[in-house]
Amino acid sequence: MADLAVRVGTLALRNPFLLASGIWGESGESLAGAWAAGAGGVITKSIGSEPRKGYPNPTIETYPDGSLLNAMGLPNPGIDEYPREVEVARARGATVIGSVFGADAAEFARLATRLAASGIAALELNLSCPHAEGYGTEVGSDPADVEEIVRAVVREVRIPVIAKITPNSPDPAALAAAAERGGAAAVSAINTVRGLAIDTSLRRPVLAHGMGGLSGPAIKPVGLACVWQIYDRVAIPVIGVGGIATAEDALEYVFAGARALEVGTAVTQSGVAVFGRLAEGLSRRLDELGYSSVAAAVGAAHPARA
């Protein structure tokens, strides 16, 4: 049996499949449920300084292939209340990875310090929220911002810091390189792809917010391309995200350079039972192909590195 345990920097995971941020992560019981179903770790909702209701509904549009377009608007209970949810999940043994979002480096650093105190094993930075100063842009689309934010957070916490990279930028690999310079232990790629849905009979966007983020099978090729380019560009581990629903999807990401994987939209189709199936399926495929571990297969589709 291939060894599914992986290390992402100093973060040890029993298997590479993480519950992606935004899915099931509002309550500690839900995080614990995903862990009990076999996830290698669970990532919290992105937590901000204040409670946020998020955007009004409709917040989601569905597509026949299982892809989703969402504009939830970062709903979360806020940093004062959320640590109790982490404690519920940790009490059930879950490896909990925090996620925070802020408008600038100082806010990210404050939130990181507070969430780290709840005993999370690592921290992912959601770099996809609107920039406090850059009108309409995202903090994560400028390499200089990414480097500054990561550096500010790494200075404050001792746990591994993961920068989640947006694909809505001309050069995601440059963002990953900036995160590496800032001291990130890993990068995760990709966040959702900007998208829009219009109801033609109503002549208006479906989502209340207008623009949304696309996830699920439709973005797998985009995620694979980003992971591939990031793997070529940085030395730190890459966590693959985007349309992973089967062990074959997972293996594609591993071969592209991912050491761990995040699963979100696939939970719609089959619930968190998908985690057990993914782990079992990946182990079987690695055995068939003669790999003794996930680590041995990371980046295998790339030409030999010099």
Binding site: P51, P56, I60, P64, P75, G78
Partner: protein, 261 residues
């Protein structure tokens, strides 16, 4: 997938509730809900109050701004629909006690209707603030159910909570199942009373919803997600939960006690 339809009928049921009917072909079962979109306003989860045939319906209680706006929608107004979502009432019981509080009767009426048509003996304990607010009272009677009433102000039937009517019926008669929907504290009391007599209870519960696909966690209730694991739950799954009858989550995910604003 979303369908945009026009409202074909608007019925004022009680001073605080309005039914909207619309064409929505395809199967739906009593207990299920739709996400109904009022373009330019909000999209809300609503249990179907009419599940049979091509014309479905929802019955809306005036609560916040959106529900008040929605009640004013005219015939011909457009709404978006997705679903139906969620599980359904198990209609196999032969003798059913239906306990509805306020607008909770909206989801119970189609279940009782289908059950009565199959020959189930249906008894209804129906509660409301006042006589005029007794939702679907005549609908229950027309399907052949016996209806016992409680009102907060004593304007009709037993003065006080419907739970006392339910408890009286439970001790006097034999039932194979209880279906209940209404204020959660009411459902909790019914569940405890019927549970003590060994009668299985099924509760249709409500939580804030966003995706309705089991993803976003807005409707988390203990280990469950109301949108996919519910909205109908056997009471024995709910009674052990610290939240049942006590707290829900606001749109940000904060735990809020029932009754708090």
């Amino acid at each position: 997938m979303r369908t945009v339809v026009r409202v074909t009928e608007r019925v004022v049921e009680t001073p605080s509730t309005v039914t909207l009917r619309f064409p929505y072909p395809g199967p739906a079962a009593p207990g299920q809900f739709v996400m109904i979109w009022f373009p330019g306003d909000d999209e809300l989860p609503m249990s179907l109050s009419y599940t049979e045939g091509a014309s479905k319906g929802v019955t809306i209680k005036a609560m916040g701004t959106t529900s008040r706006n929605v009640q004013e929608l005219a015939v011909g107004a457009t709404v978006g629909l997705r679903g139906p979502y969620g599980n359904r009432f198990d209609l196999s019981a032969r003798r059913v006690l239906v306990v509805g509080g306020g607008s909770g009767a909206a989801v119970l009426a189609p279940a009782a209707e289908r059950a009565a048509a199959q020959g189930t003996r249906v008894t209804v304990a129906l509660g409301a603030t006042q006589s005029a607010e007794l939702l679907f009272r005549h609908r229950f009677e027309e399907m052949g159910a016996r209806v016992e009433v409680a009102t907060d102000d004593g304007s009709e039937g037993t003065k006080g909570f419907v739970t006392s009517v339910a408890e009286r019926l439970l001790t006097a008669e034999r039932f194979d199942a209880v279906w209940t929907c209404g204020p959660e504290i009411m459902m909790q009391k019914v569940a405890v009373a019927a549970g003590a007599l060994g009668v299985p209870v099924f509760c249709s519960v409500e939580r804030h919803m966003k995706c309705a696909l089991g993803l976003c966690d807005a409707c988390a209730l203990g280990p469950y997600h109301v949108c996919v694991d519910g909205p109908v739950f056997p009471a024995e799954r709910l009674l052990p939960l610290a939240e049942f009858g006590r707290s829900h989550r606001d749109p940000s995910g904060r735990r809020v006690p029932f009754g708090a604003r």
